[in-house]
Symmetry: C2
């Protein structure tokens, strides 16, 4: 370890609580733990395969909720470290904590555990390139995905002045636009999806946090120099009092030294039933039918049954019907962005988690 900046670390953020694919995903079985990556693999397992192309297992940390540590660990190869957060405090605190754990000059790639990326070679190439940018400059690097549809559920990055091949300054971030603006973003060609994939040196990130969110930086400061063995205990003491804010709001939207690397890999956040369904085989009437379903005269529907229970759909058009673990969701196909409301309501009624 003569040159710590050459040492690459990966932080996999696996704290999602699985609200948008309810009732398939659930607080105790969030999206990253569902076998959505093809070949029966979970999204988390596939994410770790990609991470292992970038770093040694011992340099990979998976951060999740404490009650998901055991289930998360089952998806991780030997050597990968799984840490449980005592409470959820969003991405700025999570990344800041791990920046302290790995230490100053080392470079850290951050990636969500629950996205689908199939072109592993392109992912590796792009991340290598991002590592190189982050090592060379005092910069925060974010990956930008070329949008393929006017999604209203994602954050967009506006491309600024070009710096070098496929690298741009960032002209701004736009969180979840309405449909008209999303279509405009697509037309201009200047916007990229924010996939939550970042690369930076630990010190550069902590400096930016200090500059733009000093209170949060101070709260995290007590984690500096804590030994790895004591780290989870330290999180326990420190986390509850930290501000809960995304890294985009806390740092990226404010810092002047953010660069965007244009990604060449495919990407899907599978962030809704309709997003999931787009990737599934369709029957001649445009339905996605999975499991024990009786579809009669249905068109362009997403119909998911389970086990021996019969899920019958009669005369439906552009509807989603999902039955999983005894619970049932019915909504229009175009309303699948709002499924989070359902899982929140189900949870508020003391259901939906851990029956």
């Amino acid at each position: 370890m003569s040159d710590p900046s050459a040492e690459r670390h990966v932080l996999v953020l696996a704290g999602g609580r699985g609200e948008r694919l309810w009732p398939w995903s659930r607080p105790e079985r969030p999206k990253q733990l569902l076998p959505l990556a093809g070949g029966g693999r979970t999204l988390l397992a596939a994410t770790l395969e990609r991470a292992l192309a970038l770093a040694q297992p011992e340099q990979i940390v998976v951060l999740t909720a404490r009650d998901l540590v055991a289930a998360t660990r089952r998806e991780c190869p030997a050597g990968v470290r799984v840490l449980g957060e005592p409470v959820a405090r969003n991405t700025a605190a999570a990344i800041g904590a791990i920046a302290h754990l790995i230490g100053g000059e080392r470079t850290l790639a951050v990636m969500p555990a629950d996205h689908l990326i199939e072109d592993r070679a392109a992912f590796r190439r792009d991340l290598e390139y991002a590592f190189a940018q982050a090592a060379r400059e005092q910069t925060l690097v974010t990956l930008g995905i070329k949008p393929t549809s006017p999604e209203t559920n994602l954050g967009y990055i506006r491309r600024g002045a070009p710096v070098t091949d496929r690298v741009y300054r960032v002209a701004g971030f736009k969180e979840k636009p309405d449909r008209a603006r999303a279509e405009e973003f697509l037309r201009t060609g200047e916007y990229r999806w924010n996939a939550g994939i970042f690369v930076w040196r630990a010190r550069v990130f902590l400096d930016a946090l200090e500059a733009h969110r000093p209170l949060l930086a101070r709260g995290l400061g007590t984690l500096r120099g804590v030994k790895a063995a004591d780290f989870e205990g330290a999180l326990e003491r420190v986390f509850p009092d930290l501000e809960s804010i995304s890294v985009d709001y806390a740092v990226l939207e404010r810092a002047p030294n953010v660069l965007m690397v244009e990604a060449s890999f495919d990407w899907d956040d599978l962030g809704s039933w309709s997003a999931w369904a787009r990737r599934q085989p369709h029957d001649p009437r445009g339905n996605v039918v999975v499991g024990n379903v009786v579809p009669i005269e249905c068109d362009e529907c997403v119909l998911v049954g389970e086990g021996r229970a019969t899920t019958a759909a009669l005369g439906l058009k552009r509807m989603i019907v999902v039955h999983s673990d005894g619970d049932t969701l019915v909504c229009p196909l175009d309303g699948s962005d709002r499924v989070r409301q359902v899982s929140e309501a189900a949870r508020a009624r003391g259901r939906g988690d851990g029956r």
Copy 2:
């Protein structure tokens, strides 16, 4: 028993297999065994209460499928006889068999077990009146219900020449008209719903069967004189070879001596989810919500959940969502007449019965 014609018998037809309220009703728990009659009573129990106002328990026979005998007996007061059919052979064979059991000059009222009638006093009055017509004349008496909506799922009786107060000759039967014809039927004021409630002397019915369906009459003939104790065994031998045909097609549409008594009682066959829902309390947005349902921005929906399972409906309009015994039905409110297709399809796949 000096005047056997004064002796009144009641046959309750309880052979329905529960297809139209699937998945609540099922082959092993058909509509007549569901607590739909108010006060937690089954429709069958309420039917028997009405029958007991007309006849002694010992003069009441309930005919059902053999596998439903035990469940049916639980709903019956002491003294009422429950008989199981070895196979279903529709109403003509069922009524003919029981006509042989009770014998020639006695009068028999026939009524389905799975209809909702709330005005018991009016029902009793009307049936007394029908008994009087049937005793006096060589006639087959059918009850006609004044229609309140253009149902396409029911049979209609066209009123003919008046005979006496509220008694008419029958000008014809019309089975399940399309919407336009049903509306026309309502407009003319000349049509009544066929509720499947009949009164006649056993001999008069058997004579009519002999005249219009001689083969079926002959098949049933071996039941003549069979002792009550041996009757179920005789059904076993005779039933499988009998023609399966409704009493309407076999006799009523052909016989010249049919009279219609206009009913003054309320009547509902609860023959679909939308029919059931019309009688339930509605929320301010017009939804019927029963059980563990999370309705979010729904209008004019029928939403039925069950137990601890969450049934979530998001942004639906005029839809039916029913979750019962693990199975789920989703269809438009206006499509509830077609639910039978679903239960048939579910059964054809070896599901839906007796899991």
